[in-house]
Amino acid sequence: MSQSTTEKPEVATEPVAAKKKVVLSEGKRAERKLGWWLCAPAAITMVAVTGWPIIYSIWLSLQRYDLKFPDRTEFIGFDNYVTVLASPYWWNAVWVTAVLTVISVAIELVLGMGLALIMHRALVGRGLVRTTSLIPYGIVTIVAGFSWRFAWTPGTGYLAELAGGEPVLTEKLPALMVVILAEVWKTTPFMALLLMAGLALVPDDLLKAAAMDGAGPWQRFVKVTLPIMKPAILVALLFRTLDAFRIFDNLFVLTAGSQGTSSVSMLTYNNLIKGLNLGIGSTMSVLIFLMVAAIAFIFIKLFGTAAPGSDDGGKR
């Protein structure tokens, strides 16, 4: 590691020097052109690996396409969308996903903020506190999911014994609560980490000045810290909401979608991979894509200029 850090500047100086020469001799246009050229490989790769699959799944979603019945394949327009949007299973999954997302992200935000404040203010053992609180995030979700499942299984698990030996994972609401618990446990550290970066932006002088003016701790937090942290909170919320909305692995291990606990991703997987119904499955993927896009759009609108990417810092 140390070797690479010492060498990096050495390697980097050459292209920078070359770039400057270009600017000097041919001006801004040439620089723009070079920029395009440098971006091109990345842009083409992006289009190839994300653009094409999206277009292909939209195309699939307009067809009756079931691998089990290859001779019944035909173009059917929006019939798949009608089928999916009229299905109670789909709406149940949408509700389950929405509830999981809203509740788990809300709890994570509160707990993550608390954890971030603790980590930020820790005087002794700062490194230790930060490392230990990150452990849940470092564990592979599937592995963590299995330990939760065994812990909640009557006969083998200690949590099930504490809960009175009831098989909680076999009923809808208790099972969803267990899933939320597993999600919160897992991703609160991530939230805390993002929020801590935001906390570092709050200047100490400002807080001291507020204290001088007679603001109590709560007022300082709400009136000074939170507004300055707004962009960081937005990023954390956006990341976690999108992440939580696509919840799959924890659910897959904990309930496998039984008793009506399927999320939209789970339902899509069941139709696409288990049911081999490419038409219906792709329709669901497209719908999830639209919902995720809508969430991102709402966030950007809601937070206005505080949204990531809305500042023009990078442009000249």
Binding site: Q3, V11, T83, W90, G257, S258, N270, I273, K274, L276
Partner: protein, 418 residues
């Protein structure tokens, strides 16, 4: 700068190694000859069977055993995904009996014809053979079969019950006397619940799907079966975690001494031998039915199929014939406890000690029922287990109606899978 160069060279070498390793591994297994890749779930003594067949092939081809995951869903998913991509590195596939129609209809497995077909049919019990057929053609060679029996405690139950109501009554009486009288069975939302339901419907003379597997029937007799299932699930004598129980929890409940009855596959007998005190009173009887007639128990098991994309079809068919031959089946039955599909293996004297319940199995097999044969079986099964779950809240008439509509949608690949 020099350091960077060295690192780059190292990276290149590692990249080359990454590319080369699988290639080398592929070469190593072939020995220059023909390799027949068999994909089968993790069966403990299957490698011995493969070795035996390789010795018999005498260098003509070499069978390589590729282990699939333990759970049926995982096995199906892996095979189906690779078949959909027309993968030519899979030759012989060990399929659950319920997948035949689906893979045949999709055009992913080869039909058995000519002398191979007659060799497979020769001496094979009819019901397992039916599971390997679809639309009058043979697509698989039965390897092992399976039927559930009623297992009971000989010290608590002097004569085994013949009907469903008798069994529930006996169990409830035992529970009322403070004796261990629970009934253990599979009630979780999964294939096991479908097996239970299919057995009840068929034994009662009912129908779930029509003969061609294109129309959902769910007649009155099937509704009676729903009533019987509800009665079991709401009985005082049912295992409290029935609605989340699979095969193994059911076995463990009975072994722990809490249950007097268990509906389960014959593997529980081999497992029970580890506890001699328990095994001494561990008895079996044919599956009870609603009407008291002969039961028509759902048949399980494994069939070998040959992938449509194999590069060595002739060798693959030959390998299948050996892998499911009498010798292989006997080894699998004695060592791994799976019931054979060839009649002659049951008559083997060595089977009497390893398989004391072989007569009960054979008798049940002759009357066994096949699960609905349709390419959409996975959808049918998912719909049934979802609608019947939890079994305690079945409302026979309404549940029957719902089954009929949603099964029809599933067959037409119209509806959304839950």
């Amino acid at each position: 700068m020099r350091g960077a160069k060295r690192r780059r060279r190292l990276a290149a070498a590692m990249g080359a190694a990454l590319v080369a390793v699988p290639v080398l591994a592929a070469c190593g297994s072939g020995d220059g000859g023909i390799t027949v890749n068999v994909y089968k779930y993790n069966q403990e003594n299957f490698q011995a069977i493969v070795d035996g067949c390789n010795a018999k092939a005498n260098g003509k081809y070499k069978i390589v055993y590729n282990k699939l995951p333990r759970e049926a869903d995982g096995q199906r998913e892996q095979m189906v995904r690779r078949l959909a991509a027309e993968d030519d590195s899979m030759d012989v596939l060990a399929l659950d009996v319920t997948w035949t129609a689906e893979l045949a209809k999709a055009g992913w497995i080869k039909e058995f014809t000519g002398s191979v077909k007659s060799q497979v049919e020769n001496g094979t019990i009819q019901t397992p053979l039916d599971t390997a057929s679809y639309e009058g053609k043979l697509y698989g060679a039965p390897d092992n079969t399976n039927v559930q029996l009623l297992w009971y405690r000989g010290d608590l139950v002097p004569t085994p019950p013949k009907t469903w109501d008798e069994m529930i009554q006996m169990a409830e009486d035992l529970v009322a006397q403070g004796k261990p009288g629970l009934i253990a069975a599979q009630g979780k939302q999964y294939e096991g619940l479908v097996v239970l339901f299919n057995t009840l419907v068929n034994s009662n003379g009912g129908t779930i799907l029509d003969e061609n597997g294109t129309k959902a029937i769910v007649d009155d007799k099937a509704v009676e079966a729903l009533e019987a299932l509800k009665k079991l699930a709401t009985s005082k004598a049912i295992d409290p975690s029935f609605s989340n129980s699979t095969e193994d929890p059911a076995r463990l409940l009975m072994e722990s001494g809490k249950a007097a009855f268990q509906l389960n596959w014959p593997y529980v007998y081999a497992a029970a031998q580890k506890k001699p005190d328990f095994a001494a009173n561990f008895k079996w009887a044919p599956y009870p039915t609603v009407s008291g007639d002969k039961s028509k128990v759902t048949v399980g098991g494994i069939n070998y199929a040959v992938s449509n994309y194999t590069l060595h079809p002739d060798e693959s068919f030959e390998a299948v014939l050996c892998l499911r031959g009498a010798e292989s089946q006997k080894l699998a039955a004695i060592k791994d406890g799976v019931p054979p599909t060839l009649k002659e293996v049951y008559d083997d004297p060595e089977m009497a000690t390893a398989y004391p319940m072989k007569d009960a199995i054979l008798e049940t097999l002759e009357n066994a029922s096949v699960r609905p044969r349709t390419p959409a079986y996975q959808n049918v099964s998912t719909v049934i287990s979802t609608i019947l779950s939890p079994p305690g809240s079945i409302d026979p008439k309404a549940t029957g109606d719902r089954l009929r509509t949603e099964l029809q949608n599933a067959l037409d690949s119209k509806g959304v899978l839950p």
